[in-house]
């Protein structure tokens, strides 16, 4: 861990100003990811801008019926917020499936968007990693890749540059809900649809997202569509709690009066460098009733082009089965996070 300077501005403009003035400066919110990475010598910022005193701790209703989540609201306060639980239980469920109570009490909504991959090689400076050190190679590709990506790993060369996944649970639900990220930067404010916020590694694996230097996330907007009756977040992992997803599935369904699926959203976690969706697969469900064969077809289509790298190849079949199960559960309106784990186990 290197020495660094530190400041704690009180307003957004000052924070953006400070970050833009310094080279190698970073924002710090809950610190649950950044401090670990600094101690492991993976990140070495020269300056930290502590944003915890910015007025971004709000959860506000939007005039059109949506909800605005301040960047500094903790994951715990978000998950247990009355309006989130009532209107966006999918988000609540996804957040509570992640990390531990202690971590969720510290972790912020903004920080969660930016959390970096849990790839073992990324964390171990003794090994090659294109994300940590562009051009050094990808240790995971030829090494141990149980938790790695099966979708979206292509690069312009023949071999993928990076097969890391984005580890967040919250972001998978945000993707299913079509959330919008609000940012303030040196060039003013803008919004980024969650679909465009995270990116595939391509030839620039060091870039996790499309945020520009100096930009600060101020809030996350949830659209008016709630999906609070037929939804589920199914997370599969190597132990019942406190582990990152091998595969996770967020499903949000809108049914018509006849019980047919009017709209389906399916987002996958643990399979790619960003939460994964496939509109063509979702469209297969429109106007249909529950049907396991159809669900399997949807799953096949969602995993179209999936590629395993050895230790993670099992994820392809696991993801398909998880999709079928999650669709079953969401359609039935059962909110359990998978039969294998009772809700109270996860909390």
């Amino acid at each position: 861990m290197n020495s660094f300077s530190y400041s704690r501005p009180d307003d957004v403009n000052a924070a953006v100003g400070e970050i833009s003035e310094q080279t190698q400066a970073k924002f710090i919110a809950g610190g649950t990811n950044l401090l670990d990475l600094m101690k492991e010598n993976v990140e070495h910022p020269q300056h930290l801008v502590d944003i915890n005193h910015l007025p971004l701790g709000f959860i506000d209703e939007l005039p059109e019926g949506g909800l605005r989540l301040g960047a500094l609201v903790t994951n715990a306060d978000t998950a247990y917020h009355e309006l989130v639980q009532k209107n966006y239980p999918l988000l609540s469920m996804a957040i509570l499936a992640g990390a531990s109570p202690q971590l969720r009490n510290m972790a912020t909504n903004g920080g969660n968007l930016f959390q970096r991959t849990r790839c073992y090689y990324f964390y171990d400076t003794a090994t090659a990693c294109n994300k940590r050190e562009p051009g050094s190679g990808c240790g995971a590709l030829t090494g141990y890749n149980r938790i790695h990506a099966i979708l979206g790993t292509a690069s312009s060369g023949n071999t993928p540059q990076c097969i890391a996944t984005h580890p967040s649970d919250m972001c998978v639900a945000l993707r299913a809900l079509d959330a919008v990220v609000r940012v303030s930067g040196p060039n003013g404010d803008r919004t980024i649809p969650i679909a465009d916020f995270h990116r595939l590694p391509g030839d620039e694996p060091e870039r996790d997202n499309t945020i520009e230097p100096g930009e600060l996330v101020t809030a996350i907007d949830l659209p008016a569509e709630h999906f609070n009756t037929h939804y589920t977040y199914l997370k599969l992992r190597d132990r019942a709690s406190y582990a990152f997803a091998l595969v996770s599935v967020a499903v949000a369904l809108r049914l018509d009066e006849g019980g047919q699926i009017a709209e389906a959203r399916i987002a996958l976690g643990g399979v790619a460098h960003k939460p994964w969706r496939n509109p063509a697969a979702e469209a297969l469900l429109t106007g249909k009733a529950a049907d396991t064969t159809l669900f399997r077809q949807v799953a096949e289509q969602l995993l179209d082009g999936a590629q395993g790298y050895g230790n993670n190849t099992f994820k392809i079949e696991l993801a398909k089965r998880a999709i079928v199960r999650a669709l079953d559960m969401a359609y039935a309106g059962s909110t359990q996070a998978g039969d294998a784990y009772k809700q109270e186990d996860i909390l």
Binding site: M1, R118, A126, R146, R239, R321
Partner: protein, 743 residues
């Protein structure tokens, strides 16, 4: 009289632990303390060609960077580096030369005025290597398997006995046969507390060392030999250990480095390892086993073949007892066993909770389950058919073996009789439910040990022995034994351990501490009692004046006549008779070899487990487990139960979650953090039930105890694997059983 022994008492050190008063090795302070940070090799095999330390050294506050190039002279002979648990071979010597023998090897120590500075400076050190090809994969190196060298370690871990009968012939002719290959990945102990040493440099150059260890005297021995110091100049103190599970049976490299730096700088030094560095020394070795069993149609097992190949380092021959468990449990007449090792470019493996036992027993106990299905006999019934009161590996009777009672009580508590043997016959929604069982076994050993007891002038008892308490409850049970032996309340008894100045005790391992140190405590208190009795008799008009030793008992802080409790002298009166001085006794307890040698001595268990397996997703949950234990006399059912529960949790871990994953391309363990090295969390643990079966044994040791540190884990993995088979019809012989193996 026993007021305390056998009672479920809370830990005497519990309050100190939960209030933070209990201090661990890295928490002791010293004036002018400096901090060391270890630099670890990034390659697995080869040579350091250049190590650049100038940038690190240029930082103000960095005191020294010690490497193989500038280290002070250290002992030359291998002998000088042998600790009490060293296997045959040439022990690893930190900073010996430029040779790299495994990934993560310590190659430099940075010492600075603060920990943060040392850590930062360490990141500035540049190392050039000349790499050599490495081999870390046991599976692809089986052709290099060889017999281990024998040495002192072979006394405690003998090679398997010679073949008996004729396995090939009898197996070929057996109507029922099973055959399988069983394996598990390496595992690291990963106690909560990182390895750490705080070396206090005293004015006269003497060292007081706070070390994380399972044997303060083992660390003392190591330091005196490696640095050519006298015993009186090195004192090692280790009152509390934040878990060790065997990892503290050998001094770890931070001790060596901290001592070297302290002597070089003539200042106190603390070195603490990081979690990642906790993966750079001993571990449970990956092991591959083959088993073949032949039985007659009644279920009598007549032929056993069991071989095992474990990994070791290139410098020491670490071994375990693995195949020998088969004939220890099952009395077949035709047995062939084999045990070999493969040297790889890894650190030497190290004993880890039930070493060898939780390797060999789960393999044979899975094979037995397979045989039960082959024969169509209930797995419990098959074990009863093959029950034996003799250990056929040594051809000796057991000193006691209440395993039959474990089977009976465990099965009843679990409801085993209701089991439908058909795989996949029970379900709840998407969950397949399976019931499995296993036998467990672990040796009951006793070592020589010494203890000291002092009754102070104000009538308090202090007992000491240089053993360790790694969280097992040693402090508590020793206090109970001492209090009961002298008829004192526990509040008046202080038991102390973990100091090399104290009377000799062996390293705290092998589940022998209760038996070993417990016996020493009992003996020293009895002998102190004799002294007190003599003093009591000298009191003018003593009611005990004419009494014989056998006529008296120690009750309620008094020595009194058994026949006439009113004829009593208080312990205080007895001490007062000592001319103003405390009464002091030091004693040795030796195992009764002549009595023990004709018997095989072991603890046993019967384990019953229920699992739920999601039929599509492969997730496994252990919903219920019952362990019935025959572990001799239970000194304290509360701490004993905690030991067994801990073992059961670890059994779940071993069966379903735990493995150190090596990237063989680079020869490095990669999941070296507690986020990715999975052990159970609360949500993984459900209903755990422990039964202690009555077992009387006066051969094992005077206390009749067998030790409970390891027996809790041994039976769990096979019971779980067998339950998974019962649920799914899938026989998984490779641990851990992660969900991908079920898909």
């Amino acid at each position: 009289m026993s007021n305390y022994i056998g009672k479920p008492l809370s830990r005497v050190d519990g309050v100190a632990k939960v209030t933070g008063k209990a201090k661990y090795a890295a928490e002791f302070d010293a004036p002018d303390l400096t901090y060391g940070y270890v630099v670890s090799s990034t390659i697995t095999k080869g040579r350091i060609t250049h190590i650049e330390t100038s940038e690190a050294l240029s930082l103000p506050g960095v005191l020294s960077v010690i490497t193989h190039e500038n280290r002070p002279k250290i002992a030359w002979l291998d002998m000088s580096y042998k600790d009490q648990d060293a296997p045959p071979g040439s022990p690893f010597r930190p900073l010996r030369d430029n040779k790299i023998s495994y990934s993560g090897q310590p190659i430099a120590l940075v010492v600075a005025e603060t920990f943060e500075l040392a850590r930062y400076a360490a990141s500035l050190i540049r190392v050039d290597y000349r790499e050599a090809p490495h081999e870390t994969n046991l599976d692809t190196n089986l052709h290099r398997a060889r017999k281990p060298k024998s040495g002192l370690a072979s006394l405690l871990k003998p090679p398997p006995p010679k073949p008996r009968g004729n396995f090939d012939e009898v197996y070929a002719a057996s109507p029922a046969k099973v055959e399988g290959r069983y394996s598990h990945s390496p595992e690291h102990h990963n106690p909560m507390e990182m390895f750490a040493s705080t070396v206090v440099y005293e004015k006269d150059g003497k060292l007081t060392i706070y070390d994380k260890t399972q044997g303060a005297q083992n660390s003392q021995l190591y330091v005196t030999q490696a640095f050519n110091m006298s015993f009186s100049d090195v004192r090692v103190i280790s009152p509390f250990v934040g878990g060790a599970f065997g990892s503290g049976l050998r001094p770890q490299y931070q001790l060596f480095l901290a001592v070297m730096a302290a002597r070089e700088l003539k200042r106190s030094v603390r070195v603490t390892l990081t979690r990642q560095q906790m993966f750079t020394f001993g571990h449970r070795p990956a092991t591959i086993q083959n088993i073949a069993l032949g039985a007659d149609s009644n279920g009598k097992i007549n032929a056993i073949y069991h071989d095992a190949v474990g990994e070791t380092s290139q410098f020491e021959d670490y071994t375990e007892i693995v195949p020998t468990w088969s004939p220890m449990i099952y009395p077949a007449e035709n047995v062939t066993l084999d045990y070999k090792i493969v040297p790889l470019d890894v650190f030497t493996p190290l004993d880890m909770r039930a070493p060898g036992g939780v390797t060999g027993v789960p393999a044979i106990e899975t094979a037995i389950d397979e045989m039960a299905y082959e024969l169509g006999i209930d797995p419990l019934e098959l074990r009863l058919i093959n029950y034996s009161d003799r250990n056929m590996a040594e051809d000796k009777p057991f000193s006691s073996k209440e395993l039959r009672e474990c089977f009976r009580q465990g099965a009843e508590r679990f409801g085993w009789a209701k089991r439908n043997p058909k795989p996949g016959s029970m379900r709840d929604g998407h969950n397949l439910i399976g019931w499995g069982m296993s036998t467990g076994m672990w040796e009951a050993n006793q070592m020589p040990a010494r203890a000291e007891a002092v009754l102070t002038v104000n009538g308090k008892l202090r007992v000491t022995s240089a053993t360790a308490d790694i969280g097992t409850g040693t402090y508590t049970i020793m206090t109970q034994i001492a209090a009961d032996t002298l008829g004192m309340p526990m509040e008046d008894v202080l038991f102390k351990l973990g100091d090399s100045d104290m009377p000799l005790a062996p390293i705290e391992g092998g589940s022998w501490t209760a038996a070993t140190v417990g016996s020493a405590v009992k003996v020293v208190c009895e002998e102190l009692g004799r002294k007190l009795f003599k003093l009591a008799q000298k009191i003018p008009g003593s009611p005990l004046a004419k009494a014989k030793w056998d006529d008296v008992e120690f009750v309620d802080k008094h020595i009194r006549l058994k026949q006439n409790p009113a004829a009593a002298v208080s312990l205080q009166q007895a001490v007062d008779q000592n001319g103003g001085a405390a009464v002091w006794q030091k004693s040795t307890s030796l195992p009764a070899m002549m009595k023990q040698k004709n018997y095989s001595r072991a603890a046993h268990s019967a384990v019953f487990v229920e699992v739920m397996v999601d039929e599509d997703l492969g997730t496994i949950r252990v919903t219920r487990a019952v362990s019935a234990i025959a572990g001799g006399k239970i000194l304290n059912p509360k701490t004993a139960r905690s030991q067994i529960i801990g073992g059961m949790v670890w059994g779940i871990s071993k069966a379903l979650e735990e493995e150190s994953v090596m990237d063989h391309t680079i020869g490095r363990f990669m999941n070296h953090s507690l986020a990715e090295y999975h052990v159970p969390v609360n949500a993984d643990i459900h209903d755990l039930d422990v039964i202690f079966v009555e077992e009387h044994d006066d051969i094992v040791n005077p206390l009749g105890v067998k030790g409970l540190g390891e027996i809790g884990i041994v039976g769990m993995p096979a019971a779980i694997a067998n339950a998974v088979f019962h649920a799914t019809g899938k026989r998984i012989r490779e641990l851990p059983i992660t969900l991908d193996k079920i898909l």
